[in-house]
Assembly symmetry: D2
Homo-oligomer: 338 residues x 4
């Protein structure tokens, strides 16, 4: 429920109302705006009727939020949210490019790749230390050692680092090394993990699950915001369809749809979204054009030797070329690239 106060309502009126909301067992929200104060009440909205807010002298209007997500919805928060990812503003006027290898494999690999993507204009570094792999016999990531390498290289090249966390027990450790958490597609509905990330204040890049509707993604994000962490960045990375020529089907229409329904910034991952190196640049340009706030791209200094996702990783030269090609499209979108 959204409660818009009248212009003449004071801070005291707001607090008094919040206390009454709280007393009913609902969760009170305080959203002071530039023109007027908006209050929220989360929970079983039927009990609110007892407060007769409609006829309260300081209340201008009361609206129900129909979507299953509340804090995530644009109704609750009409302005775009900008999330600071270790200094890189995601959701602002700079098109954010987060680049790096799928997995951290060695210091040398990270270092060479990180320098290349930074020099080409990337705003943040990615690299996985914990890799959720389909087969138990595949490379599962370097774990803590991978986190150490990532953090060291990120510091050396001067970029913030994003890395995946797959398990509640690892949240604290990952927090120590990374500037942002990534919750992967397979964990989009790992609600315990989402709650744990909600208790941090670090940004969370939440990837859409392979079978998740846009509404499911937004409702999953609500788990994180409901715990108190407003720094969520959504990421479209392809859904499972009958098409087999591409690894997944990148659903770019999700971008403007999310922008309509939510205030959170949105990235696109054209690497996982297509699974094919040659499609990464065209889909990155399309991401710019449809309104995404940035991209998440896999780059590897030697893709043919990558321990995972080699065929979708760009060579550093290709990344540089892609950044150059992105330029005019980013400008057409009224944004800047670096």
């Amino acid at each position: 429920m959204i409660i818009v106060l009248k212009p003449q309502a004071t801070e005291q009126h707001a607090e008094e109302l919040l206390e009454r909301i709280s007393a009913l067992g609902l969760r009170p929200l305080h959203m002071p705006g530039t023109e007027r104060v908006v209050l929220g009440a989360l929970g079983d909205e039927r009990v609110l009727e007892r407060l007769h807010l409609d006829s309260h002298p300081m209340v201008e209007s009361v609206q129900r939020v129909l979507a299953p997500y509340k804090l995530v919805s644009r109704e609750m928060h009409p302005h775009d949210t900008v999330v600071s990812l270790g200094g890189l503003d995601v959701g602002g006027s700079r098109f954010s490019v987060v680049a790096g290898p799928c997995a951290v494999e060695s210091y040398e690999q990270m270092s060479v790749t990180a320098r290349a993507v930074r020099d080409a204009g990337a705003g943040a570094l990615r690299g996985g230390a914990y890799k959720p792999r389909t087969s138990p016999y595949s490379f599962q990531g370097l774990g803590r050692e991978g986190l150490e390498i990532l953090a060291q290289v990120a510091r050396e090249v001067g970029l913030p680092a994003v890395t995946e966390v797959v398990e509640v027990a690892d949240v604290e450790l990952v927090d120590r090394y990374a500037d942002a958490f990534q919750a992967g597609a397979r964990n989009m509905q790992n609600f315990r993990l989402l709650r744990a990330l909600g208790q941090s204040r670090k940004p969370v890049v939440l990837k859409r699950g392979m079978a998740a509707k846009v509404e499911d993604l937004l409702t999953a994000a609500e788990y994180i915001l409901a715990e108190g962490n407003p720094n969520v960045i959504l990421c479209e990375r392809g859904i499972q369809t009958f098409e087999t020529a591409t690894r997944n089907t990148l659903d770019l229409s999700a971008v403007p749809l999310i922008k309509q329904r939510s205030h959170l910034p949105v990235l696109v991952d054209p690497s996982h979204g297509t699974g094919i190196r040659e499609l990464v640049a065209p889909m990155a340009k399309a991401a710019v054009a449809c309104g995404a706030d940035g991209i998440l791209v896999e780059v590897h200094h030697r893709p043919e030797e990558a321990l995972s996702d080699g065929q979708q990783s760009l060579y550093p030269d290709q990344f540089t070329a892609m950044m150059r090609e992105l330029g005019p499209f980013v400008a057409a979108a009224g944004m800047t690239l670096t």
Copy 2:
């Protein structure tokens, strides 16, 4: 099978080889290029071994076309095909915008809408006279009367007209009124219709079926080319997935994928692809950015009164605004809009 002749091969060598291919019961293809002549042989390729082409003195190389489509493949025809749609070159450097209402409803509706889209820069007019509708109780199109209105309005505004044909028996009639046929998503695998369209030389806009893989689309196009009509324009219009927020899931990655595999031009239909008016412009821009040759867009002078697809049709003003917004993206792609 593709047979590349040596530079010194003469026209006579080519003809002699084509006759021998023909004598084996295969279909011979003659593809003279600027640098050297390429021959093709379609059918059961095993019998070709009898010709020992590998050791023929005028043959440089012999390659199998592995894809199920042959004439459609880029291997057979490395250069982009440009299809002239009543004067509008689709596949060239102009980004083609085909616009108009879902269905022809009246002279007034067509006339008002057609003038609006022409003035905003559309290159061709669309409008259906035969509407394949899910329910037998829905408006099924005006039939011949609709074709007459479409042709008259197209003449008046000076735009070529594209319209759907749903049945072999209608091909001749539609041919008399339209500058290009459209084979709809539901008829993508109506192979008898495709063959009939292959016997025309008018352009065919072939829309991807809702459950069709990119390979299925390309193989369906092969039906048309195999009958002798090279003027095929492919169209991505969304596939059926589990996502319900949009009418279909627009698979933009199909655009660069098709460009890799085929020489045919590709349009994108963001209206059917999303089913939501507000998503049309962002997805049109994304279509430009990922390499499409144009778009097919539904515009209606009074969408709220449209007999079909009202909620995905743009108001004329919205179309004009979209064209303006497309400008910088079309320029970024190195193309022109009007």
Copy 3:
């Protein structure tokens, strides 16, 4: 709209009401039941208000049919429909087995296979003369010659014949040779073909399209019934999903769902539904168990030489074994097999 008459209403009351419905431009339906007469009115139901049927002395109740399909719905026709397919009652207490090769290839092939399936207890023979094939270079069926072979063999073995029709222009010819039409998955929304089949009185086996919801299937069937042909048999044959181990995903839950919503009989095609010979028998048994009225099965006397669908065709011995295994399940369902 369904109009239930009071017990005391006479035939004359019914006729008078039907005329008034007709006079409003609606399509009148007369559905005399054992206990009372039910009338129907199809079309724009709002004009019906003018008749004030609610207060008519002989009308007990008036209900709207909410589904987009009317004649197909169980609300309009509460009792199960039994369709006579050349003597085989589909929808009755016998579990109908329609078997034969994918395509008619030769007299010998049809003859050997037909005798085998008849001896094992099949109730009807299938075989395609027109094959909608993905590639233009694949075997497309024998056409009229195939129809002749099918009809001759069917007569010789004493089974009714079902065969696919893919084009309006062929309906008359196919009608001369077959006891029932099949409208294939790719033509489920070829509405012109459905209308043409609706003008016949021969049974139509309507297969669910690969991307069609159950509601789409029922609404497609409405096209046939709305033209006056009540003899429609629905067929679940698998839908397109992300699973690649099977050719399609056989959606058996469609069977009880259709039974809930419609009075039409339902067959299951476990051959196309799975694409894998070894899965045919288990899924045939499951079809019995979930309430299907029969199955459509591909059998070939030499599957390894079949011109199409070899890997999903049963050997005659396997068909015989499957029929034996089906026995106890058919009995458990309270039905008979032969």
Copy 4:
């Protein structure tokens, strides 16, 4: 890699070979059969070449396991595995029925429901204490209190209890209260959880993910077996498709497909698989018919008051009726029900 020893090979030969396999860094497997001993080697199989096993005097044959899953594959283990779920043999000749409410809500609810399902012939009790819910504002389960109620009621009615575990940190606690773990669809690729469950010896009911191919399910099971827990029961519970009339599309063809490829027992969940109470019984019968080893069914003493999944839960009376109807089908399958 599977290494079949010659009949004359002794235990000592086997051990010597296993040590050599181990010394190469591979995981050795010992599978003594009634006729001859089979050894396995898991890991990077290329290093095995150094052993020249082909020419070893006691080795009869060496085969690669091509599937990404090894321990799970039928090649490695040709006989059906029977898993004892607290005394209920899943995978044997009794058709296993695991029934109970979606979530444990109270002692009374569990007690009434448990007695009803036991009296109707259920072999195990289900009930969730941790519910992964799409919305953070939905009932999330009673947690430890739920586990206590479940365990107490299971003891009272004399049935083993199955309950979901959603997080590594809870494995130990759940282990104390339940006879079997359930890993839910949303956690099918929560590989850390699978590893943790692999370190237990309690049975794990592993549900197929909504976007998981059969191969993905089998490879996920490999995580559990690879950690040493052979007691895995697979469960088909519906996949995400474009069909919206049912909650999911129950893919029953997965059952015979899994039986072909793996030795593990398979349950079917017709409640989540359809989401519609009326479809549960028909799909349960179909599950019997296609070869499933049992079903997982939601029953609630007052579905209209259920805190989750009410519309797919059977009333106790309906469960009893379903069990009665299942009888003849279970007999037809050569199995027993209670």
